[in-house]
C-alpha cells in the first residue's frame, strides 16, 4: 500500500469516524468487564460548539478512549439540556423578529414554536462533537425535556414534597422584567451605576406647610409607600412621632413609624418604606405589620395601583415623576449618586425586587452528605483548590428557589382550582383524588360537576 506524501485530515476523519460508528465501537452494554463511565455535561440543545466545549470534550474523549484501550467497558453518555431560560430567550427573540409578541401567544402556541426551534437547531452541537472525534455512545443520547426525563423531574419533586423538603412561600425574588421570570442570586450581576438621589418632601398631616424630606433613588415607587420610618434616637425628628404624612401627588395618608434600623447618617434620616419593592423594606413592613402594595406589572410597567403614570415603564416613570414632583413643589433637590444595581445575567435588564409565590427546596439536610463526600475523599475535586469554595458554599447553603416563570421547561406539579386551593400530584386524576381527600370537593358533587372541576384544574 502506498502512502501519500502529506497527511490529509479531511479524507481521513470522516472515513474513520463512520467506520467506528458502523462497527459500534462507541456502544456499550453491561457485561462482565469493569465499567468506565462518563456522563457528558449536556450542552444547551440549540447551542453551537464553542472553545470551552472543545477543551472539555477533548478531555473526556481522551479519558474514554484510553479506558477503552485498557480493556474497560467504556461508556460515554451524550445528550443535551433544554436550558429553559436561554432557549426561551432565543425563541422570544426569534418571534420578535417575525413581529410576534410572546404576550399574545398562549402557552401551547408558544411551545409549538419552541419545539419547532428545537427540532431545527437541536442536535447541531452533537453533530459538531462528532467532527472533534468524540466517541460517545450515540445510541444512549438523552434530552432533559424528553418524556422519561421530565417524568423523573416530576417524580423527584413529589418525592421531596412528600418528605416536607419542598415548600411554597412568598419571597422577595430577583425579578427580570425583560425575561419575565425570577432569577437566582447567582444569575444577578452587580454593577456600580451613576444614579440620582431625589429628595422628596411629604406634607405632614394636620399642617399646612410642614414637610419632612426623604431621599430615594426610586421616586417612581412612592405610590407604593406604606410608611415613613425614623430612628427613635434621632432627636431631630422627635416631633414627628405618632404623626402621619401624605404621599405627594396621590395624597395617600401613611404613618410615621420608628425603628432603630434607620441609619441616622444616611440621606435625611427619614426613610420611605415600600414593602413591595425593596427587600429591607419588606422585612420592616412585616415587623410593623404594614400593608403591601405592588404597583409594578411583570414587565416593569406601572399598574392601576400606582394611580398615576399607569402603563409607563419604570424608568420612564422615574423621569416623569421627578418632573411632576418638581412642578408640584415636592422636590427639594437632586444629587448625583453612585450605587450598586443588579442586572440579569441573561437579559441585562435591571433586576426588580419582587414579592412572589415561589417553590423552594430545603437544602440543609441534602447538603450535609454532599459536603461529607468531598471532605472525606469519596468524591475528589481536581484540582483540590476548589474544595474550600465548595465547603464554603455547602456550609452556607440557602434554600433553592426552583420556580421559574417560563414556559419552556417542566411545570411544577401543583394543581389549582378556581378558588386558589391547590394540591401536589403527578397527574390530573391524582390531583382530583387529592382534592377529594382534602374535602375541597364533596361527595354530593354530580359527575358532571366533577368533570367540570377537573377541567378547570391547571398545573402551576
Amino acid at each position: 500500500m502506498s502512502i501519500s506524501t502529506k497527511y490529509n485530515p479531511a479524507e481521513t476523519e470522516d472515513k474513520w469516524y463512520s467506520y467506528w460508528l458502523s462497527k459500534k465501537f462507541f456502544h456499550s452494554e453491561p457485561d462482565e468487564r469493569e465499567p468506565y463511565t462518563i456522563v457528558i455535561p449536556p450542552p444547551n440543545v440549540t447551542g453551537v460548539l464553542h472553545m470551552g466545549h472543545m477543551l472539555n470534550n477533548t478531555i473526556q474523549d481522551v479519558l474514554i478512549r484510553k479506558a477503552r484501550m485498557q480493556g474497560k467497558n467504556a461508556c460515554w453518555v451524550p445528550g443535551t439540556d433544554h436550558a429553559s431560560i436561554a432557549t426561551e430567550a432565543k425563541v422570544v427573540a426569534m418571534l420578535k423578529e417575525q413581529g410576534i409578541n410572546k404576550k399574545d401567544l398562549s402557552r401551547e402556541e408558544f411551545l409549538k414554536y419552541a419545539w419547532e426551534w428545537k427540532e431545527k437547531y437541536g442536535g447541531i452541537i452533537l453533530e459538531q462533537l462528532k467532527k472533534l472525534g468524540a466517541s460517545c455512545d450515540w445510541d444512549r443520547t438523552r434530552f432533559t425535556m424528553e418524556e422519561d426525563l421530565s417524568e423523573a423531574v416530576i417524580d423527584s419533586f413529589i418525592h421531596l414534597y412528600k418528605k416536607g423538603w419542598i415548600y411554597r412561600g412568598i419571597r422577595m425574588v430577583n425579578w427580570d422584567p425583560a425575561g419575565k421570570t425570577a432569577v437566582s442570586d447567582e444569575e444577578v450581576i452587580r454593577k456600580e451605576v451613576n444614579q440620582k438621589l431625589y429628595y422628596i418632601k411629604y406634607l405632614i398631616s394636620g399642617t399646612e406647610d410642614q414637610f419632612l424630606t426623604i431621599a430615594t433613588t426610586r421616586p417612581e415607587t412612592i405610590m407604593a409607600d406604606a410608611a415613613i420610618c425614623i430612628n427613635p434616637n434621632d432627636e431631630r425628628f422627635s416631633h414627628l412621632k405618632g404623626k402621619k404624612v401624605f404621599v405627594p401627588l396621590v395624597n395617600h395618608e401613611i404613618p410615621v413609624i420608628e425603628d432603630e434600623y434607620v441609619d441616622i447618617e444616611f440621606g435625611t434620616g427619614c426613610l420611605k418604606v415600600t414593602p413591595a419593592h425593596d427587600l429591607n423594606d419588606y422585612e420592616l413592613g412585616v415587623k410593623h405589620n404594614l400593608p403591601v402594595t405592588d404597583i409594578l406589572n411583570d414587565d416593569g410597567t406601572l399598574n392601576e395601583l400606582a394611580v398615576i403614570l399607569v402603563g409607563e415603564d419604570r424608568f420612564v416613570a422615574r423621569k416623569k415623576i421627578a418632573k411632576m414632583l418638581e412642578e408640584a413643589g415636592h422636590l427639594a433637590k437632586v444629587e448625583d449618586y453612585k450605587s450598586q444595581v443588579g442586572f440579569s445575567e441573561r437579559t441585562d435588564a435591571a433586576i426588580e425586587p419582587k414579592l412572589s409565590m415561589q417553590w423552594f427546596v430545603k437544602m440543609k439536610e441534602m447538603a450535609q452528605p454532599a459536603l461529607d463526600d468531598v471532605l472525606n475523599g469519596e468524591v475528589n475535586l481536581i484540582p483540590n483548590k476548589f474544595e474550600n469554595t465548595y465547603r464554603h458554599w455547602m456550609e452556607n447553603v440557602r434554600d433553592w428557589n426552583i420556580s421559574r416563570q417560563l414556559w419552556w421547561g417542566q411545570r411544577i406539579p401543583a394543581w389549582y382550582d378556581d378558588k386558589g386551593n391547590w394540591v401536589v400530584a403527578k397527574t390530573k386524576d391524582e390531583a382530583l383524588e387529592e382534592f377529594w381527600k382534602k374535602k375541597h370537593l364533596n361527595e354530593s358533587c354530580s359527575d358532571a360537576e366533577k368533570a367540570g372541576f377537573k377541567h378547570q384544574l391547571e398545573p402551576f
Partner: protein, 421 residues
C-alpha cells in the same frame, strides 16, 4: 422550573434510574467514574448532583470531578461573542485537522489553569501530525536484507527502556488528571527520542537496506507509539494502524480498541548513559559548527573515561550520529585538541590542521567565566543561612552537587588552558 432541577438528576436519569429503578444499566454504570466540567457550575450543577445522588440513589453519582480552566484569548480575556475573540471551532478543525486542534487545546491547558488559546497551538499540533506521518514514510521506505547482522542492539535496547520510562511517567500524570503534562511527555518521546534520536541511530545509509531485526523492532515501536497517541490523536493513528506495514488487519482490528501499551521495567543506568552519549553527539556537532567542519568529514575522537560508562557498546552510535571515524581511549589529556565534557568523562578532538589556538583559548575562557559566575551564585545561596535552614534537604543536596560539578569542570578547563600553553 429551574433547568438545574432537571440536570441535577442527569447521572441517574440517563440510565432510567427513576422510571425503572434497579435496571441493569443503572446497576452497572452507576456511580459513574469521572465528570469533566467547568468550575463556574461547581455549585449549580456538581454539588446538586451529589445531593441528588444521595437522596435518590443512596450513593454518590461519580468519583472524580475534573474542573477545567476557562478558555481565554492570548490577551487573557474570556472568549465571548460580543468581543469577537472566539475562533469558530469547526473552522479550526477544517483548517488544521481534528487531531491537531485536540493536541493544541490539550498542550496549552495544564490541569486547573486557564487556557490562553492561540491558533499557533493548532499549528504546533499539525506539525506534530506531519512529523509522525513523515517518520512513518521513512520507515515504510526501508528495504530489508535478511542476511544483515543487527548493528543496532544498543539503540533498540535504549529505546525500549526509554519507552517504558515514559509510559510510567505518562500513567502517573494520567492518574492525577494531568493530561497536558502526559501529552507533553508523549510529544517529546515521539519527536525527540523516537524521531530525532532512535530513527537516526538505526536508519540505514542512503539507498542501503536494513537488517531484519532492526526493522522488526522499529515497526513494533511504531505500533506502540501509535497506540500511545491514539487517545489524543484518534484519526491519524487509526489511518496509520491500517497500513500494511504493520499487518493485514481484520475488520475489527482497529486502533481504537487496540490494547494500550503496558509499562515494563527499565534500566535507569542505561538511560542515564544514553543521555551522556546524546551530549557527546551534540558536543561534536557543536564543534563542527563552530569550526565550520563539513558533516561529511569523519573526525577522530579520544576519550578519557572517568566514569563507569562502558563506551564500547555506544561507539557505533557515536560514530554514526556524529560521523566519528575512530575512537581512542586515553589516560591523559590530549595536548592541542578541542576538548569538551559529557557527564564525568572528557573528550578530545585532535584537529591539528584546523585548530585555531587563539579561538580555542577564547572559547575555553568564555566557558570558564560562565562557570565561575555560576559557582559564585551557588556559593551565595549556600552561604545564605536562611536558605540553608529553611530549604528542603534534597534542594540543598542538589545545590551542593551543582557546586561540586562546577568545580570539577573549572578544574578541567583550567588544565586544558594550561595544555594549550
Amino acid at each position: 422550573m429551574d433547568t438545574w432541577f432537571s440536570s441535577w438528576l442527569w447521572p441517574i436519569s440517563v440510565f432510567d434510574g427513576f422510571k425503572n429503578p434497579e435496571n441493569k444499566d443503572i446497576n452497572y454504570y452507576y456511580p459513574t467514574n469521572d465528570l469533566v466540567t467547568a468550575p463556574e457550575i461547581l455549585f449549580f450543577w456538581v454539588a446538586r448532583m451529589i445531593m441528588a445522588g444521595h437522596e435518590f440513589m443512596g450513593k454518590k453519582p461519580f468519583t472524580n470531578v475534573y474542573l477545567t480552566g476557562i478558555v481565554r484569548d492570548k490577551l487573557g480575556r474570556k472568549m465571548s461573542k460580543s468581543l469577537g475573540n472566539s475562533p469558530d471551532p469547526i473552522g479550526l478543525i477544517e483548517k488544521y485537522g481534528a487531531d491537531a486542534v485536540r493536541v493544541g487545546m490539550l498542550m496549552s491547558s495544564p490541569a486547573g489553569n486557564d487556557l490562553m488559546f492561540d491558533e499557533s497551538y493548532c499549528e504546533q499540533g499539525r506539525n506534530f501530525a506531519s512529523k509522525i506521518w513523515n517518520a512513518f514514510r521513512l520507515v515504510k521506505g526501508w528495504e530489508v536484507d535478511e542476511n544483515l547482522v543487527n548493528p543496532n542492539i544498543q539503540a533498540i535496547s535504549w529505546f525500549e527502556n526509554r519507552f517504558n520510562e515514559a509510559l510510567v511517567e505518562i500513567e502517573a500524570n494520567f492518574k492525577q488528571y494531568r493530561l497536558s503534562e502526559a501529552l507533553m511527555i508523549t510529544y517529546k518521546l515521539v519527536w525527540d527520542d523516537f524521531c530525532a534520536w532512535y530513527l537516526e541511530m538505526v536508519k540505514p545509509a542512503y539507498q542501503q537496506p536494513i537488517d531484519a531485526e532492526s526493522y522488526k523492532a522499529t515497526i513494533s515501536f511504531f505500533e506502540n507509539i501509535i497506540k500511545l497517541l491514539h487517545p489524543n490523536m484518534p484519526f491519524i493513528t487509526e489511518e496509520l494502524w491500517h497500513d500494511d506495514l504493520f499487518a493485514e488487519r481484520g475488520e475489527l482490528d482497529c486502533c481504537i480498541v487496540a490494547e494500550f501499551p503496558k509499562g515494563g521495567t527499565f534500566d535507569e543506568k542505561l538511560l542515564k548513559d544514553a543521555e551522556v552519549i546524546k551530549t557527546v553527539v551534540a558536543e561534536i556537532r557543536n564543534v563542527r559548527n563552530q569550526k565550520q567542519i563539513s558533516p561529511k568529514e569523519a573526525l577522530p575522537l579520544s576519550i578519557k573515561v572517568n566514569s563507569d560508562l562502558g563506551y564500547d557498546k555506544w561507539l557505533n552510535i557515536i560514530f554514526k550520529l556524529a560521523n566519528v571515524a575512530e575512537a581512542e581511549m586515553v589516560n591523559d589529556k590530549v595536548v592541542g585538541a578541542t576538548a569538551f565534557m559529557a557527564g564525568k568523562d572528557e573528550f578530545f578532538i585532535p584537529l591539528t590542521e584546523n585548530v585555531d589556538v587563539e579561538a580555542e583559548r577564547e572559547r575555553l575562557n568564555a566557558d570558564l567565566v560562565y562557570l565561575q559566575g555560576f559557582l559564585k551564585s551557588v556559593d551565595a545561596k549556600l552561604s545564605n543561612e536562611r536558605f540553608v535552614q529553611n530549604a528542603k534537604p534534597e534542594i540543598i543536596a542538589n545545590e551542593r552537587n551543582k557546586k561540586a560539578d562546577a568545580e570539577a569542570k573549572i578544574k578541567i578547563i583550567e588544565e586544558s588552558l594550561a595544555v594549550l600553553g
